[in-house]
């Protein structure tokens, strides 16, 4: 079988002064957004390969950034920091070609009435109104303490970021969200956010943005073995009533909201011997993947036909040993054909799951330190890419598949 030579990165984005904790693709644009351990967020233009915007979103390290498509033309970014906050920023879409930086909107929707502006006192540089000056493009390596304006902040949610667990988001469109959303007169899109509970790191809170309303408090699973699941390490919201979670003890759990408002555990499995690190749902919604600090990739069936107690064979997870433990980063491409894992061994592995076992398609080796973030992106003309963020503070771009 003829095979291609080992892939090499097509570009390296340098500019973060500390490790890259998270990486995402902004929807509907060719932009990559990265967050580092110093709290900086950088939006990189993939066409110019230059930073479009740099600001310090959090006082502590970033846990997750994610794009949230707003109303037409309004790009929003949700950032999750270790300073126990989640911010939603409004960033304008990519400017016309040639302009290097983002200019903030001169007029802004009046959001103050419906959102709770952060009362965070020590937080300098809180922008109370739409600033006129452009966002900085000075990279974190060129100076951490330089004055950099922040984009327009829509809202702030206070959460518990003790666990290193990244939030899970589920966009809710107004008609469908009406049953859950208290604010029925708000026609805006909502975002359901699942994070570790404020009361207890073992539980999960579910809030909505931008209203910052808590929907569910301290959701905890009931495991079939009656063990304690430990801290929440990874969550995913499949639907307003379906929650997936991975735990410190290695448990992976599916919980459903019952009619009487309680959460029922419909699936639990302990395939990992180490804390679960990442969780990804296949676009077909037939299965989801978990990776952990051990070397296993586990494929869990979704919506098993029978309840877990009967132990139907279809509800058994399929486990694959990669022999490379510490699979921190995970991303499944939107078409579901391939997925990538990035590990503490500094390598990114591209997999394709056909049948039970995944087939390793490629090993991307460039970073010498652990990989903390990986994101698939789609370019034009079949030029798809994988972005990889590492402990070494660099982001590598690979044009594969």
């Amino acid at each position: 079988m003829p095979s291609l030579p080992p892939p090499t990165p097509s570009y390296i984005f340098r500019g973060h002064a500390s490790q890259i904790n998270t990486l995402a693709v902004l929807p509907a644009s060719e932009d990559l957004i990265s967050g580092d351990a110093d709290g900086f967020v950088v939006i990189w233009s993939l066409s110019t390969r230059r930073p479009r915007a740099v600001w310090r979103a959090h006082k502590e390290g970033l846990l997750k950034v994610e794009g949230w498509p707003g109303e037409e033309g309004k790009g929003r970014v949700v950032t999750h920091g270790r300073d126990n906050t989640i911010h939603v920023w409004e960033v304008p879409p990519a400017p016309a070609r040639g302009s290097a930086s983002l200019f903030l909107p001169a007029t802004s929707r009046s959001m103050e009435s419906s959102m709770r502006i952060s009362e965070d006192e020590g937080w300098d540089g809180e922008v109370k109104g739409p600033p006129a000056q452009p966002l900085s493009t000075v990279l974190p390596v060129d100076g951490l303490d330089l004055p950099r304006p922040q984009p327009w902040k829509l809202c702030t949610l206070h959460i518990n970021a003790l666990n290193f667990c990244q939030f899970a988001a589920l966009p809710i469109h107004p008609p469908t969200s009406s049953t859950l959303d208290e604010d029925k007169d708000q026609p805006q899109p909502q975002l359901m956010i699942a994070t570790p509970a404020v009361q207890d790191s073992d539980g999960i809170d579910i809030n909505t943005l931008p209203t910052c309303t808590r929907l569910h408090t301290n959701v905890t699973p009931t495991l079939s073995s009656n063990e304690k699941p430990g801290m929440v390490m990874a969550v995913a919201l499949l639907a307003p009533t379906t929650l997936l979670a991975g735990y410190e003890s290695g448990y992976t759990v599916v919980m459903k909201l019952t009619a009487n408002g309680t959460w029922e555990t419909v699936y639990d499995s302990k395939v990992h011997s180490q804390p679960v690190l990442s969780l990804g749902v296949h676009p077909s919604r037939e299965w989801f993947v978990t990776t952990a600090a051990d070397a296993m990739i586990a494929f869990h069936p979704l919506f098993p036909s029978s309840s877990p107690s009967t132990g139907s064979p279809t509800s058994e997870p399929a486990v694959y040993n990669t022999t490379h433990s510490g699979l921190q980063a995970l991303d499944i491409r939107d078409d579901g054909e391939i997925f990538a894992t990035g590990g503490w061994d500094g390598k990114i592995r591209i997999w394709r799951r056909k049948g039970k076992e995944p087939k390793q398609l490629a090993v991307l080796k460039w970073h010498k330190e652990s990989i903390y973030a990986v994101a698939f992106g789609r370019g034009g003309q079949g030029k798809n890419w994988v972005g990889v963020g590492s402990k070494d503070g660099k982001i590598s771009l690979w044009e594969v598949y």
């Binding site: 291609l4 030579p5 080992p6 892939p7 011997s273 070397a295 433990s325 510490g326």
Partner: protein, 872 residues
Amino acid sequence: MSSADPLIVLKSRPDVHALTEALAEHSASHRPSSTPDPRAAQFTQALLAEIVPIHWEVADDKTRKELICALATINGLGGCLTRLDGLLKAREWSQCSQVLQILSGVFDSFPVWRYAEADKGLWREYIALTAGGRILGKCAEVLQAMPDAEEGVKWLGEGKAWACWLGSGIAEGTIKNELGPSQAAGLLNKALGLGYTFELMDVLVPALIPTNVTQLCDLHAALLLTARHNHLHALCSWLSRKYLSGSSPPLGAAAALLSAVVSRNELEAYILSPSTTQSLPLTRAALIALHSQSPLNLTFLNKILIRFSDVTYIAHAPTVAQEALTQLLLPTLGRFDLPLKDSEAQRLWMESTSNRLTSIGRRRWLGMVVGEAVDKSLKFGVDEMKTEEAQAWKALVDVGRQDGAMLGQIEALTRPEETKAEKMEAKKKKEVSFLDAISRDPEPATPQVVDSDDEEEDFPVYELPDSDDPDSDDDPTLINREKHKITPPVYIRNLLVTLRASEPKYDVVKLALKHAEGLVRRHTSFGTELDLYGIELANTLAGMNDEFDMPDFVDMKQRALVALVVGRPKLIGPWAAEGVCSGKWSLGQRMAVLAAVSSAAVELSGQDLGQQKKVEGAVIASKLLPKHLHAIYADDSTTEIDRLTRGIEEASLKPLAAEAVDALSGPEALKVGQTRRFSRRPEVQARQKKPEVNTLARIAGKGYFFPLAGGWWMMMRGEGVREPLFAAQVVKTLGIVLRCSAPSACDLREMTSELWGIVFGLRAKANGDNTLTEALLFALLVIFEVHEPRRLAEGWAKEVMETREWVGGVFEHMIDEGRTKMLAAGILLKINEVAEKFEVLLMGGMLSFGEGGRQEGLGLKMGNLAIGLPRR
């Protein structure tokens, strides 16, 4: 003028008329194929060198023709070639062009057979020039180098043009009977070697068929055996390329041609030759040709079957050849009754089928095809056998049967235009000719492969990067990800930083230590880092503790120290002396540094590397001690330092002591349990006589000895020495340095006096302390070793006598101390030697000190040392 010698005319710068006359004169007397004579050669030479450059460009056609005519001899051609060579080297392009024009003119105007009547040697020369490619080669070279060649002469450098020229020449000459078969064969033979056989055949064969086929046959028969094979191959290739690649090849005609030109045996041998890989139509034509002469027999079939069933052939022959063989076998089988009746053929067929079934891929498939084709009742029932391709292959048997033995008319081959057109047509229509149907590529046959191909296109697999090892440990909590990042230090500074790290890591320190020695040695003759950081590094190394309980810690540290002392003796020597004697360090550190100094001294003294390893090993690492020694010393040595000092002592002292005891060999009582000392003696001697450059000699005194000795005196004068063990070490180290720097050290004398002084100063302290006594004895032994007896007697008479007295006492009081006793005996022996030879000198020296009382018994007791000396 008319009767003048043409050569003289040529050399006298003739005008055109004179030239024409001279040329006419010359050609009248010389035939083109006449044997060369010196005058003709000179004429050619003159013509090319003097006439052509001047006259060619301006000459009219007539004169040019005359010139060409004059040069159109075999000699002339040879001359042209030589001239061309010279002009090429001189890069005279215009003249090159002239010669090329002449050559082109010669070959255009005169046919091949013009020279046929020349004698054999000349004819051969002509063949070599033309068909052999000599002119072609040279012209090609010139044309390659020439910036702008005329179109008219370019053909001279093209093999294809030459092949055509030769082909038509041979054909024409043969038809006109100008060339005999042997002459034509000679040309053809060489012409085939030019490499353009298709072009050659394409001109030659059509010219001779259909009417002159017999001449082609004669020509073929006249060829040498190997050339015949080449010719047949060329003919077959030409046939199959030109006529047999269309949709309805004129097989009969080709068969007719083959059978007309080539004998049956030859054709059979050719078609059966393993190197033959002809196309299917040609194979069929050849089979028709063979069958038409006499029906194919079983021997022929069996020959094919034998190869077809040969395991080695199946495994190793290229697939193309195997397919060709199958294409030969199947039509051949068609001419026999199937299934095979003959038992031998039957057996071979069975064998081939079973052999091929055990192989793989296409080879196996071919075996199944033949199997099913021969026996219709045999069905393998696999999918591969049901494909169209397999059917087409199996049908080859019927094809062979239909082909039969029908020879066609050779005339069918004389319509090349038509066949060409047909071929084009066939190509255009993409009509599936038989060969097309039999695709060589088995891949697309199976649908699964196609499917996975699709998959691969979308998601190709990349190769793994150079290193992608699985984790070191199955347990995720135990994997150490740091280790692959640690690199050994490459600068002394790095090493220092690593070793001094406030929170040292085991792996890092270990790696740094492991590479410390190499690093220091590399920097010995490179850069200034060692000068800058040498002392610091030495301090660090000496002060290092084995925090991690590292195996080989002491060894590695010690090696680094030794490398340091060796690398910068002048820097580290005084540092070591100061450190050792200042009381800043612990005993262990002092011991280690002293050991390092000793080892370095040994190394610097330039011992042979192999020996040095041995000695150094013994000095540094107790683990490297010879086994029997280790067994002895490992028991009573408690600490590493202790063992180290024992090692030093052993390495330096043993040879001396052994020699001493050997010399005394008489009394058994003096031998100390060492059974191998006799055998060791030659080795010991060999080790002592080393002619290498003694680097230590130059620096021993200033670098090591005096700083240490000086420090020692300061120490003695100050606080005194509390530890006899340490004192013993210092004395031993000094002894080793002295010993290693001898005999060429410039300050050997001073060092000796100094050492003697130190030894005598410690006599009292040594009383009752075996270790120190031993060290002192060792030092004394070194002194006696490094100096000639005469020099000792002259320079240190008093010391010698004093030594004798003390050592004698020690020896006498010794109860059961093997080693010490041995040492003492050795020294006494040496003294004995000195005393015997230089008694007077000794006495003189003693008398000058004016102490009479002690010497009276000296002379009397001199021969009686073993018993002892008078006590005071």
